[in-house]
Amino acid sequence: MNRFDYVRPGTVAEAVQALGADPAARFIAGGTNLIDLMKYDVEKPGKLIDITRLPLGEIEERDGGLRIGALVTNAALAYDARIKERYPLLSSAILAGASAQLRNAASTGGNLLQRTRCYYFYDTATPCNKREPGTGCSAIGGVNRIHAILGASDQCIATHPSDMCVALAALEATVQVSGPQGDRAIPFAEFHRLPGDEPSRDTNLAPGEIIVAIDLPAQTFTTHYTYLKLRDRLSYAFALVSVAAALELDGQTIRTARLALGGVAHKPWRNGEAEALLQGQTATRKTFEAAADLILREAKPQSTNGFKIELARRAIVRGLEQAAAGTPQSQSDKRIQ
């Protein structure tokens, strides 16, 4: 871990100013990923700006939806009565991730900014374009069973590791940020990036910006939803594939469909075409399979992760089945519904 300065601002303006004044500075909140990366010398900030004392820790009503302060912990969010009642998909996704201890520390804003779990990104002994642009991607042709099958580039095949973000993508949340140029709102789908030829950039946050809140829209999916996560052990492991599915049904007819995948791409993966395809259709396995095929039409395997394409196809179908049946996946009973 490198050496760094430490400041603790009391206001958002102070925080933004501190970040703007020092390009080597980083915000720190829960620290559950940043300190982890600093110990591996993957992140070497010159200054840490401790934002934990900023007044961003509330969940508030707003325009029929909820505004979640960036510093609300993952645990507080998952167990909040309003979230459990109105956005159970979000609660479920959060509880599918990490451990109780990590969820108690990790912040909402930080969850959006957590970095990939690619082995090579974490290991400074190996080249990695995300860590050190231009050095190459070791995961291509290497150990890559956990890597991307959608939206990867020849520069980077890493995946985004968050569970929470997959639900937020499906719910069409909005990220509220504040920066030197003022405040702006970023639709969730535009927040994370694909690697392209600039894999070192995970998000579209502009330099100097801070996440202040996440807005959840008024539309909730309280009955027909699920978060289905498939991984290498039954808890405390990152997703090989996960599916956030949310439906509004009119009898057996799908009125609205939202579907986001985790563990398969550099960002939570949504496919508007597939969601449109589901709309107006009867909620049957055949319909779901058609949507899955559409989503995975563009999927590309790496040397050892080809199984993820078939796994994703099956997970999408099952996720939609669970959602349609109103039997969301339990995150404690590991039997898959």
Partner: protein
């Protein structure tokens, strides 16, 4: 700024106050000192263990203001003003409730042989207390899931769940 460690690059230390196991301490810490390293290397509270140093095993679990967290991923300076309970303070927790021996979860761990080598045990114990404070896990499935952030390589899991269940039911009886 509420706090500024000073000029860039200086090995500045920052004054913080922590209440550790009921004892208030004024400490000067470097910004890069984790709560775990502070406890183990500076304060000789080696009960809290370093198993992975990356939040992947749970051996370093302590209670901060009653909430369980991984102390390895926590900078000490960020917890300025907090109340910390480590395994060394668990007995004290129950003493404050008027008992004068081990915390019930410590006794239950011994009785159910919920450990072997003992290295993950402090984290398991603090995590168990945190779990009970949270109040979300009730069934065995829920306890298993909620304790999955604490790895036990000796494989005492079933005994750990037995111990927690027993103490939770004692709580119900009260």
């Amino acid at each position: 700024m509420l706090i500024d460690s000073g000029s860039p690059g200086a090995v500045g230390t920052i004054g913080i106050t922590l209440t550790i196991n009921g004892e208030r301490r004024e400490l000067q810490v470097a910004p890069w000192t984790t709560l775990l390293d502070l406890l183990r290397e500076r304060l000789d509270l080696t009960g809290t263990k370093k198993g992975c140093d990356h939040g992947q095993c749970g051996a370093c679990t302590v209670l901060v203001n009653g909430t369980r967290i991984n102390s390895c991923l926590t900078l000490a300076v960020m917890k300025d003003g907090a109340e910390i309970t480590t395994v060394e303070g668990l007995a004290g927790l129950s003493q404050r409730e008027g008992k004068n021996s081990l915390h019930p979860i410590q006794e239950a761990f011994v009785e159910h042989d919920a450990f072997q080598c003992g290295y993950c045990t402090p984290g398991q114990l603090c995590s168990s207390v945190g779990l009970m404070n949270e109040g979300h896990a009730k069934t065995r499935d829920e306890i298993r899931e909620a304790m999955s952030g604490n790895i036990c390589r000796c494989g005492a899991y079933t005994n750990i769940v037995d111990a927690i269940e027993e103490v939770m039911h004692q709580g119900d009886a009260r």
